[in-house]
C-alpha cells in the first residue's frame, strides 16, 4: 500500500488566522488509517481550531485538507457531504441537542440520512444499540441532556457520533472534566470501540493517561505547526524545551510509571 492510501487525513501547508492573529502557519499532518492520533499542545496553540478546520467548521487562509482522498476545501458539495457522513465528532461538552432526549439525539443523524431507507423501529433500535455500546444504561435513553452527569453526557455524545458508523472519530478533549476513574473508563471505551469498529481516531487531549493508554501516535502542536509526531517513546527523545517539559514533567512521569 502506498503512503497516500494509508493516510486517511492529510493536512498540507495549513494557515489559519483570526484577524491579525496567526494560529497555524505551514502546518502539515497525516493521520493513518486505523490509528489513534493524540494531538497535544499548550493552551492557545490551536488544537481545537485544527480539529474544527479539518471537519470544515473553520475555513483556513491557505493550505489543503484531504480526508479519504477528497480535497475538503475544493471538492463539490455532494462529495464533501459523502465524506462528512463518514466521520463522527464528539465535542468537548457533548454538544447534545438540549431539547431532545438522549435517544432522540442519537436518532437525529440516522433520521437525517433518509436515503438509508430505515423505518422508525429500525432507527430506534439502532440508536438503542449505540447507547448500549457507549456504555450507558438503557434507562438513560429517555433522559434529557440536562439531567445527565458530565461523564454520561460524553458517552451520549459518543453514541451520537457513532450513529452513522463512521470511519473516523474526532474527539475534542474526551476526558476533560471527568474524574480519574471515569476518564480511565472512557479511555478503555474508546480503545475497545476503536479496535472493534476499526475506527481511525483523531483525539485532542491534555490527558497524559489517555495518551499513554490509547494513542498509537502523538502529534505535538507548538510554534504554529506540528512540532513532532511519533510514538510515546519517540516523544520522550525529542529535544525541544516544551516537549521535554511536557513529557518529562512530574505528571508525565507519574502517568508513564502507571502505564
Amino acid at each position: 500500500m502506498s503512503g497516500a492510501a494509508q493516510n486517511i487525513i492529510e493536512v498540507r501547508g495549513l494557515r489559519t488566522q483570526f484577524g491579525a492573529q496567526v494560529v497555524h502557519d505551514g502546518l502539515d499532518l497525516d493521520v493513518r488509517r486505523g490509528e489513534v492520533l493524540g494531538v497535544v499542545g499548550g493552551s492557545g496553540t490551536g488544537k481545537s481550531v485544527l480539529l474544527r478546520t479539518i471537519i470544515g467548521l473553520n475555513r483556513p487562509a491557505a493550505g489543503s485538507v484531504r480526508v479519504l482522498g477528497v480535497d475538503m476545501l475544493r471538492a463539490p458539495r455532494a462529495e464533501r457531504a459523502r465524506v462528512e457522513r463518514s466521520w463522527g465528532v464528539l465535542f468537548q461538552n457533548g454538544a447534545l441537542f438540549s431539547s431532545l432526549t438522549v435517544q432522540q439525539n442519537v436518532e437525529a443523524p440516522l433520521r437525517e440520512a433518509r436515503d438509508l431507507g430505515l423505518d422508525d423501529a429500525d432507527i430506534a433500535e439502532l440508536a438503542r444499540l449505540r447507547i448500549a455500546m457507549a456504555g450507558l444504561a438503557p434507562g438513560a435513553a429517555a433522559k434529557m441532556p440536562a439531567e445527565l452527569s458530565g461523564g454520561m453526557r460524553k458517552r451520549a455524545g459518543l453514541a451520537r457520533a457513532l450513529a452513522l458508523d463512521p470511519q473516523i472519530l474526532f474527539l475534542d478533549e474526551p476526558t476533560a472534566g471527568l474524574d480519574p476513574i471515569g476518564a480511565a473508563a472512557f479511555d478503555q471505551l474508546i480503545g475497545r470501540l476503536q479496535r472493534a469498529l476499526g475506527l481511525t481516531v483523531f483525539m485532542v487531549t491534555h490527558d497524559l493517561d489517555s495518551l499513554n493508554a490509547v494513542c498509537d501516535r502523538i502529534a505535538v502542536l507548538a510554534e504554529r505547526r506540528v512540532l513532532a509526531v511519533g510514538t510515546m517513546e519517540e516523544m520522550l527523545a525529542v529535544d525541544h524545551p516544551w516537549v521535554r517539559e511536557y513529557f518529562h514533567g512530574p505528571r508525565a512521569r507519574a502517568a508513564l510509571r502507571a502505564g
Partner: protein
C-alpha cells in the same frame, strides 16, 4: 465504503436453509439486505437456518445488528439458527455488538383514568406551588427594595440607569406610537356611533376617559411586558444556564439584589412616565382624528377636555402603572431564576414570563376596576 454491497445466497431446501452472505454488510445497504434476508427466511416449514459469514468482506455495527436481530427474531419464531463466523478481523465487532444488543424497551404505561386524574392533580399542585413561589419572590424583592431604600448605597446605580434606558427610554417610540394610534382608533370608532345620535362632541369624553383611565396604563404595561419582561427572563435565564448565578452566590453577592432589584425598580420608575406619555399621545391622536372626521376643532376639543373630564380619571389610570410595573418586573425576573440547565428552558420560561405577566396585569386591572367602582371614584 469501497466494498460492494452484500448479496445473500440462499441454499438448501425443506426444513434447512443456508444463507451465504457476500460483500459488505453496512449501513448504506442495510434495508435492502434485510429485505433479502427476510425473503430467504419466509419459507414455511423452516426449522434450521445457518448464517454463513465466511465470505463477508465488510461489516459495521449496523450490519452486525442486522445479523443479531434477525437471529433473535428467528429464534423467537422457533427456528434454530447457527452461525458460521466471519473472517477474524470482523469477528470482534460482531461479538461486541451481539453482547451489547439492547432489550426491547418496556411498552409505555397505559394512560388510564387514574393516570390522567393524577396528571391533572400534579398540574394543579405545581400551578399552586408556582404561584406561591412567585408570591415569595415578590416578598423577597420588596424586602430587598426596602433594605436598599434604607441604605441607598446598596443600590446599584449603574445597573439601575442602564435598565431604565433599555426598558424605559428605548421603549418611548413604540409606546407613543401605540398611544397615538389608539387615540385615532377611538375617535374613528366613536365618531361613527355618536354621529347617529348627533352627539359628536361626546367623542372627547369617550377618548379622554378611556385613554386616561384604562387604555394608557394597560396597553403600555402589555407592550413593556412583551418587550422588557421577556428580556429580563432571557438575560437572567442565560446567566443561570452559564452558572453565573451560582458564581454570584459563591461570591456572596445576592442575585436578587444584584439582578432583580435594579430591573424591577427601573420598571417601577419608568412605567408611570411611559403610561403618561402614552395617554398624551392618545389624546393627540384623538384630537387629530376628531378634527378630520367630525370637524371638532382642536380648540373645542381642549375646552371640552378641560370642562368635562375630571382629573380623577388620570389619577386612577396612572396609579395602576406602578403596580403593573412591579408585576412585570417580578414575573420577568422570577421566571428567569426558574430556568433549568438547558437552552430550551430559557425559551419556555421567556414565553411563560410574557404570558403570565400580561395575564396578571389584566387581572390586576379588573381588580382595580372593581375597587374604584366600590369606592365610587
Amino acid at each position: 465504503m469501497d466494498e460492494a454491497q452484500a448479496t445473500i445466497l440462499c441454499e438448501g431446501d425443506g426444513s434447512g436453509a443456508r444463507l451465504r452472505v457476500r460483500g459488505a454488510l453496512t449501513l448504506p445497504g442495510l434495508a435492502a439486505a434485510r429485505a433479502e434476508l427476510r425473503r430467504a427466511c419466509a419459507r414455511p416449514g423452516l426449522r434450521v437456518v445457518e448464517f454463513d459469514l465466511g465470505a463477508l468482506e465488510g461489516l459495521d455495527t449496523a450490519g452486525a445488528w442486522l445479523i443479531a436481530s434477525e437471529r433473535a427474531r428467528l429464534e423467537r419464531a422457533g427456528v434454530t439458527t447457527r452461525l458460521a463466523p466471519p473472517p477474524a478481523r470482523l469477528r470482534e465487532l460482531l461479538e461486541a455488538v451481539t453482547a451489547a444488543m439492547p432489550e426491547a424497551p418496556p411498552p409505555p404505561p397505559r394512560q388510564g383514568l387514574a393516570q390522567r386524574l393524577a396528571a391533572l392533580g400534579r398540574g394543579v399542585e405545581s400551578g399552586a406551588l408556582g404561584a406561591l413561589d412567585a408570591l415569595a419572590f415578590l416578598g423577597l424583592t420588596l424586602a430587598r427594595l426596602g433594605g436598599a431604600l434604607l441604605r441607598p448605597r446598596r443600590l446599584r446605580m449603574a445597573a439601575l440607569f442602564s435598565h431604565m434606558q433599555q426598558a424605559g427610554l428605548n421603549a418611548l417610540p413604540i409606546v407613543t406610537l401605540m398611544g397615538f394610534l389608539i387615540g385615532v382608533v377611538l375617535a374613528f370608532q366613536g365618531a361613527t356611533q355618536l354621529r347617529r345620535f348627533g352627539a359628536e362632541v361626546f367623542v372627547v369624553d369617550l377618548i379622554a376617559i378611556s385613554a386616561l383611565r384604562e387604555l394608557g396604563a394597560l396597553l403600555t404595561a402589555i407592550i413593556v411586558a412583551g418587550r422588557s419582561g421577556s428580556a429580563f427572563t432571557a438575560a437572567i435565564g442565560s446567566m443561570k444556564v452559564n452558572e453565573e448565578i451560582d458564581a454570584m452566590r459563591a461570591l456572596s453577592l445576592d442575585p436578587i439584589e444584584t439582578l432583580a432589584l435594579p430591573r424591577a425598580l427601573a420598571l417601577l420608575l419608568t412605567l408611570p412616565v411611559l403610561s403618561f406619555l402614552a395617554m398624551i399621545a392618545a389624546l393627540a391622536g384623538g384630537l387629530l382624528m376628531s378634527w378630520i372626521e367630525l370637524g371638532v376643532s382642536p380648540g373645542m376639543f381642549l375646552e371640552r377636555l378641560h370642562a368635562q373630564t375630571d382629573v380623577k380619571h388620570f389619577l386612577v389610570g396612572i396609579s395602576k402603572a406602578p403596580v403593573f410595573a412591579l408585576i412585570i418586573g417580578v414575573v420577568g425576573c422570577h421566571q428567569g431564576f426558574l430556568v433549568g440547565g438547558s437552552a430550551e428552558s430559557v425559551g419556555r420560561r421567556t414565553t411563560a414570563s410574557v404570558v403570565i405577566a400580561i395575564f396578571s396585569v389584566i387581572v390586576a386591572d379588573a381588580l382595580f376596576s372593581v375597587f374604584f367602582a366600590e369606592l365610587g371614584i
